[in-house]
Symmetry: C2
Subunit: 209 residues, 2 copies
DNA sequence: TACAACTTTGCAGTGACTCTAATTTTGTGG
DNA sequence: CCACAAAATTAGAGTCACTGCAAAGTTGTA
């Protein structure tokens, strides 16, 4: 299937807008940049920006949406007899070693975190994406375990696991943002991830007594 | 300490605005009502509305914010030797029997849920409140267990517990919204709550194998 | 080359929210 | 009871994300 001129132009325009926007956000922060500026810098009209991106937040969180089904895929592709928690533990610990961008561990992480931290609307949008991730994971788990419609457990399991991953990631961001290098953060993250998944696997039990 | 005329008027104005707004939202939905309408109906200027409520969402979620520290208090007031999970299980199961409004189990729950369900911005605001609840609970837990600054576990425990409560509540809302009576929903909620807290207490272990 | 389909644009809104400068209302000291 | 300060309310003008529509431009196709 050839990519015609029309398709190519559309892709290019979309990428140009996204790149220009990201550059401006990085330089000056999310709230401080208006869509009108982005449009002008990308040499398109404001309406064209909205043709490609439904909201301003989408301009920044584009790639997060793309990987909305990552957790569901982790659950689907786990080994025979491997528990769900085990699969996510393995995936997350591997991500630490490879600095997987799907978990926000790539190079720009500190800057990404700084921008997120200063914009409530971006944070809220990210939470939305995480919510959809959890819902999708829950559907996969429900199908795999044959749980019936009324059973909340698949959704609970999905929620617990993703909440764990989110909190680990948030901790990582905070440390990167405070100026620590990735090599300083990595051991902490490894250790906390292990503790977190242990807690998840073994339960909160008598925590706090 | 007397309540002077000024204080009384302020309180009355605030309540009038909040009541008028809630009434309009109930009748026509959140997005469908403008602040200008609310101001006119409450016989104040638009600016006065913003004097009392920072955002439109706050007009509806006023009471939720008031009880932002409920989970922290549950943790603080638990019995000697009682685990955190046990305390929340107890509190939640009790709430089911008394239809505690703090857990959204009061009479207007179905209508409340319907309005929430149709407004993404309200949902996002509620998530924010829940986030702050979890942060506050985490601080209490950290203090109680003497966990050090780097230890994510208190925040993880807080997150897991509140996520559980949120999902139980969401399930309840969905059922109430679909027309089921409270008497039909209650047994389901009891059962699911027990299962949920069991899962939380004992861990996800080999779920999904 | 003509025509249909699609993309981009301009224009005119709407509505939440902000800022500033009046104007009104309330508490207080003489 | 009367000024005067402090606080509350208001009007007015503006910003910005986002929407809807119709006109203009571009691309694929017969």
């Amino acid at each position: 299937m050839e990519e015609g001129l029309r398709e190519r132009k559309k892709r290019e325009t979309r990428e140009r807008i996204s790149d220009v926007a990201t550059g401006l956000f990085m330089a000056r922060g999310f709230e401080e940049v208006t869509i009108a500026e982005i449009a002008k810098a990308a040499d398109v009209s404001v309406n064209t920006v909205f043709n490609y991106f439904g909201t301003k937040e989408d301009l920044f969180l584009d790639r997060q949406e793309e990987v909305e089904d990552v957790p569901a895929r982790v659950a689907l592709s786990r080994g025979e007899g491997e528990s769900v928690v085990a699969a996510f533990r393995r995936d997350f610990l591997a991500a630490i070693e490879t600095r997987d961008w799907r978990y926000g561990m790539n190079d720009g992480a500190a800057e990404f975190g700084r921008i997120m931290a200063r914009s409530p609307s971006l944070q809220s949008r990210l939470r939305e994406i995480e919510l959809r991730r959890a819902d999708r994971l829950a559907r996969v788990l429900a199908a795999q375990t044959g749980a019936d419609e009324d059973d909340l457990r698949p959704r609970l399991v999905a929620g617990q696991i993703l909440e764990t991953a989110v909190l680990l990631t948030r901790g990582m961001w905070l440390r990167l943002m405070s100026g620590q290098s990735w090599e300083e953060v990595r051991p902490w993250l490894r250790e906390q991830a292990k503790a977190a998944f242990d807690l998840l696997e073994g339960g909160l039990g008598d925590f706090g007594t």
